[in-house]
């Protein structure tokens, strides 16, 4: 590991990887990425890896849309020798309550205004897209064919390999333990494998973002919460889009390899760092998904696990600088959708750090918004 660098990025998840790559691509010479474990070992490697522009809030729509543009050419841009398995077969988002249906109509209107070609579908039209769907009790659905998902391990690895090729120093099993400031400026980073002096520090520590922020004296209004997920054995192709419902709190998708990945959002899950899993989840998940997609009834579960969401008060990430701590940047609090935003966030953060005008205005996503009382509202999260 180098003794000094132009920038140190903390976190080898997809967000840290994307930021390190973009800094190097934009001409920064010396970038060190510190990861306390191995790549994608935090939330990234545990996530559902869905990518959608069907959001209900303007920031999320703009960011996700730009990210999808980037995902479409990502493997090529990064010169990745394998497949990141980006699949665009859409998201089908189901409405089961009047309230939800009304909200979806508004969402689609906003999405159209921002250039997203989503559609409102009747239950019959939804069934045309997913013949296996049980539409009982469904009022309608929204659909957008540009949505989809990718493989989180390959995506992160593609960013990291490209960063390495550009001269980045990617250090696994290197934990940042302290950060030294001098006259309000980032000076040096202490790690389990030695010190690095650097004027720039990027906090992309995922669930540990608040711990890292504390090292520079910044309090983050975030909490972490467990989310459980499972994968089945591979089965014949039956599910093109990601199927999602906010009122039922479920998402379900079939990966290119045929296995089906699914999770539920349970507000009673423990907060903190517990990444265990429960049998109650298996039962709950199975009963919900078999009602929605009865063909899954005889399919076997091969693995269950959990990961952490890092939640902010308004379910939007916190991006950029913090007044009073020069050289400190953060890309944290993704509230369950940081995988899809990583490509665009990588570019935006590098633009900010290099003093350029960010290509999308994200000034409203700074930490200061909570003090100013400028909360965003995002009605469409699982």
């Amino acid at each position: 590991m180098r003794p000094s660098a132009d920038a140190v990025v903390i976190g080898g998840g997809v967000v840290g990887a994307a930021i390190a790559y973009n800094l190097l691509k934009s001409g920064m010479k010396s970038v060190v990425l510190c990861e306390k474990s191995t790549f994608a070992s935090g939330s990234t490697g545990r996530c559902g890896a869905g990518v959608r522009e069907q959001w209900g809030a303007e920031h999320n729509i703009r960011l996700a849309k730009a990210s999808i543009d980037m995902f479409e050419h990502l493997a090529e841009e990064l010169g990745y020798d394998q497949d990141i398995e980006f699949k665009q077969k859409g998201y089908l988002i189901l409405a089961h309550t009047e309230k939800e249906w009304d909200q979806f109509k508004k969402n689609v209107e906003l999405q159209h205004r921002l250039g997203v070609n989503s559609m409102l579908l009747t239950p019959e039209e939804a069934k045309d897209i997913v013949p296996a769907l049980n539409t009982e009790g469904m009022l309608g659905a929204t659909y957008n064919s540009r949505d989809g998902h990718a493989n989180p391990f390959h995506t992160t690895r593609a960013f990291l390999q490209a960063a390495r090729r550009l001269g980045g120093d990617i250090c696994f099993f290197t934990e940042v333990t302290a950060i030294e400031l001098e006259a309000g400026k980032v000076k040096r980073v202490r790690t389990s494998r030695g010190d690095i002096s650097s004027p720039v520090l990027v906090n992309a520590a995922g669930p540990w973002a608040a711990v890292v922020a504390k090292m520079v004296g910044v309090d983050l209004p975030v909490y972490t919460q467990r989310h459980q997920i499972l994968v089945t054995e591979p089965v014949g192709w039956f599910l093109d889009p990601m199927v999602m419902s906010f009122s039922i709190g479920i998402y379900c998708q079939q990966t290119p390899h045929g296995s089906v990945v699914m999770g539920i959002g349970d507000p009673d899950e423990p907060k903190g760092y517990d990444t265990g899993h429960s049998w109650q989840f298996l039962r709950e998940m199975a009963s919900i998904v078999c009602r929605l997609l009865p063909v899954l009834r005889d399919v076997r579960v091969v693995r269950q696990w959990s990961g952490l969401y890092t939640m902010t008060p308004d379910a939007h990430p916190i991006l950029g600088k913090v007044p009073g701590v020069d050289g400190y940047y953060q890309a944290v609090g993704f509230s369950g959708h940081g995988f899809m935003l990583a490509p665009v966030v990588g570019r935006l953060l590098s633009e900010m750090i290099l003093g350029k005008q960010p290509f999308i205005d994200i000034s409203g996503l700074d930490l200061g918004r909570f003090e100013r009382g400028e909360y965003m509202v995002e009605p469409s999260v699982v």
């Binding site: 265990g276 899993h277 429960s278 049998w279 298996l282 039962r283 199975a286 269950q304």
Partner: protein, 366 residues
């Protein structure tokens, strides 16, 4: 939700002994097995036991299985769940079961994992063709269901299992083309090897399988000689027309449930692969989770029964059912029995493995 004091997963010699021991102290035990009857590997062992010094020497596995099954049936503290698979053990002490009736949670105060071992697979082209079997599967087919696996068999591995199954195949009217052994010497006991030789079956040491071929199923195998580094020597290939390839290349502990329950696992080659760290009471690093038998290191039935008994005793003791002096005395007795059982040459290897394991356990607690 159904409740039990001790759940025992695996109704082989280890699990049954553990269940009966705990039950003798009044502990309510639920014994679970994937198979439809208790007995584990014993139900297919038609041969007499070897290397069992203590009691029951000369007993056939199937006879012993029947005896044990009867003890289980007659014991009012033990409930047997057959055709039931344990899927996972969770932090709220629930063991999730897949039963013929569906998925059922079982609340248990203690868990004994006695899941045994599974056969090791060999890597070679064509190893996924129908007709490639583990030796245990061949034994089950013949001795439990009365089904011949095929007409002509290539046996890979000359340990006791490979030799005994070869003999049983011939008894069942199946041709055994050859027994291969990668090592320069035969692995199993000389008595078994001579029996095979007398039947005219060649035992080829320093040989392995290169590939299996066939259209949709095994039609033959190519074998070759190995050099001292275990690499195949080109030019020494021979083609054997067989429809079954039987792998008797050793066993590895079945520890999925232990991994999932959060027990710390260590790789110890003498014990067959990954095994849990455990203390002198057979308790793993996952509190309240005990282990016994091949799941804790591949050995044989008599040590499995002794370990099962020790685990069952400890589980009963940890539930407050065994007076301390009695516990200490009995534990010492069983440990002595285990020591004696491991006195032979095969036991030396196990003892080395256990020593490695206990060193690592000390490192963990230090």
């Amino acid at each position: 939700m159904r409740k039990t004091e001790l759940a025992v997963v695996g109704a082989g010699p280890a699990g049954i002994s553990g269940a009966l021991e705990a039950a003798s102290y009044g502990v309510k035990v639920t014994l679970i097995d994937r198979g439809d009857r208790p007995g584990g590997q014993l139900v297919k062992q038609t041969h007499k036991f070897f290397g069992w010094h203590a009691k029951g020497a000369g007993t056939r596995g199937i006879v012993l299985a029947e005896q044990l099954a009867r003890h289980i049936r007659e014991n009012e503290n033990v409930t047997f769940f057959g055709s039931t698979e344990a899927l996972g053990y969770y932090s709220d002490k629930v063991l999730l079961l897949e039963t013929p009736r569906g998925i059922e949670p079982l609340q248990c105060e203690r868990l004994l994992v006695a899941t045994g071992a599974s056969e090791k697979m060999l890597l070679f082209p064509g190893n996924d063709l129908p007709g490639v079997y583990g030796a245990g599967a061949v034994q089950t087919l013949m001795n439990v269901y009365g089904v011949r696996p095929g007409r002509s068999v290539l046996m890979v591995g000359s340990g006791n299992i490979g030799l005994i199954v070869s003999y049983q195949l011939v008894q069942a009217g199946v041709r055994v083309a050859a027994v291969l052994e990668a090592m320069p010497v035969i692995g199993g006991y000389a008595v078994h090897a001579s029996k095979i030789r007398r039947l005219g079956i060649p035992i080829l040491t320093g040989h392995s399988i290169k590939e299996a071929y066939g259209d949709g199923q095994v039609e033959g195998a190519v074998i070759w000689k190995l050099d001292e580094k275990w690499n195949g020597i080109p030019g020494t290939e021979k083609d054997l027309k067989v429809d079954v390839i039987c792998l008797a290349t050793g066993l590895t502990p079945l520890g999925e449930l232990l991994w999932q329950a959060g027990a710390q696992m260590e790789y110890v080659s003498e014990l067959g692969g990954f095994v849990p760290l455990y203390d002198e009471n057979m308790e793993t690093t996952a509190k309240g989770v005990f282990v016994a038998g091949d799941a804790s290191g591949v050995e044989e039935a008599s040590t499995a029964m002794a370990e099962g008994k020790l685990a069952g005793l400890s589980a009963a003791w940890s539930l407050g059912r065994v007076p301390p002096e009695e516990f200490t005395r009995k534990r010492e007795e069983i440990r002595n029995e285990l020591y004696q059982l491991r006195a032979g040459p095969t036991g030396q290897k196990i003892l080395r493995g256990l020593e490695t394991l206990s060193k690592r356990a000390k490192k963990v607690t230090a």
